[in-house]
Subunit: 236 residues, 2 copies
């Protein structure tokens, strides 16, 4: 945890004194091994970041005086449209995109997505938030990304996607594209990344019809986590 | 497996007929669900890539006629110098860098590396090769990256690193650097990435003395996998 996320319910006296118990308390104890007087980086969920000065540690809680005087880092101007994936991998991707500063993720279907993935409990709100908050702790940010779940490919692409890409440059990662992924484009981006094995040709065509440009990142097929980090870091 | 790696010992009749048994046979059966006559992408370890046409499948083996008529993708012109990390993470990083086409990885020590990590069996040659080959299968490549293990920071940086960076542009990823990581530099690169928590100031200074430029990728602290994929995809 590079930053400890505080919740409104942690505040016990006005705007500064916080009390942390339970799982997060144990985590702070194990990772930071803090002493009274130490300062830890903290941030209020969806609010400012700053410093928490430890005022009390006992066997079941830690208390801090929090000064939240800085804004969290600016969001990345990117909307990520990704095909649903194996839940085990999706958990890591949620944490990763949240740590990178992506604030809008749209999870879509694709022909090559196993249907069973859509039944995973990872898609429940509490679970999504858990992995997204882990990413905020890693990236030292406080703004929880929005995750939209759209399990029907065609209606999503035809009815919703045109509005979503409006005002952005839309790219779809496709290993057989003729165009290389551009660098440092300096504008808001919508980036679509397919499942293991890629979008099928019909899906790529639908995205191109919608206005997307198909781009590749070399001959190699990257795992979804490398592909997302690589494409995002190159584009923005 | 986007590509099935063949070993010289798989060849049973001259230069084309291969027989695959055991773990890899079961994996092919489970993942590709092949029939006789199907063609699978194959590549000879450290050799050419091509196609394997299935000639036989029975309860314990698959046989193919392999045509290896294409060179593997060109290597990325990058030497990656990374601090040792938690073995569970290192396994994934080995696979990732191999899939991305990085051919030289140097594993170094840093003040913030837990000493116990160096005792992990993941550092044994067979284990390194296992995770590197998984990356080749992912990235559709055949050339096994070289992994050098250098558990002493100072002698490595003073005695070996000057020769390693010779002819390359050397960068060290450092969250507090003033310079942003550049894009698409079109030259061979040496990239140094620190442990969770970063290199300590002394280590960054030693690398800068050696000729490295410290660069950042924004305010957020990325996990090592995202950092490697992001920096590499941006630089090359």
């Amino acid at each position: 945890m590079n930053l400890i996320i505080l919740f409104k319910s942690d505040f016990i006296e006005g705007a500064s004194r916080v009390r942390i118990q339970g799982h997060r308390f144990e985590h702070i104890l194990g990772v930071h091994k803090p002493s009274v007087g130490d300062e830890l980086r903290v941030g209020l969920l969806n609010g400012n970041i700053g410093t928490g000065r430890i005022t009390l540690i006992n066997e079941n809680r830690v208390e801090m005086d929090a000064v939240l005087d800085r804004e969290p880092p600016a969001p990345l101007l990117i909307t990520l449209v990704i095909a649903m994936m194996r839940p085990r991998v999706f958990k890591r991707v949620l944490t990763q995109v949240s740590a990178m500063g992506i604030k809008r993720v749209i999870l879509i279907n694709s022909y090559r997505v196993e249907k069973s993935f859509w039944k995973s409990p990872v898609l429940e709100t509490d679970s999504l938030n858990k992995y997204l908050i882990m990413g905020l702790e890693q990236g030292q940010d406080t703004i929880v990304p929005e995750v939209l779940i759209r399990p029907l490919f065609k209606p999503f692409v035809e009815d919703e996607l045109p509005d979503i890409i409006n005002g952005t440059l839309p790219f779809v990662a496709h290993p057989y594209a003729s165009e290389q992924c551009p660098y440092n484009i300096g504008k808001p981006v919508t980036l679509a990344v397919g499942p293991e094995g890629g979008f099928i040709p019909y899906e790529v065509e639908k995205l191109i019809e919608c206005g997307f440009t198909a781009v590749h990142m070399g001959e190699r097929t990257l795992h979804v986590e490398s592909a997302i980090a690589g494409l995002v870091s190159r584009l923005i």
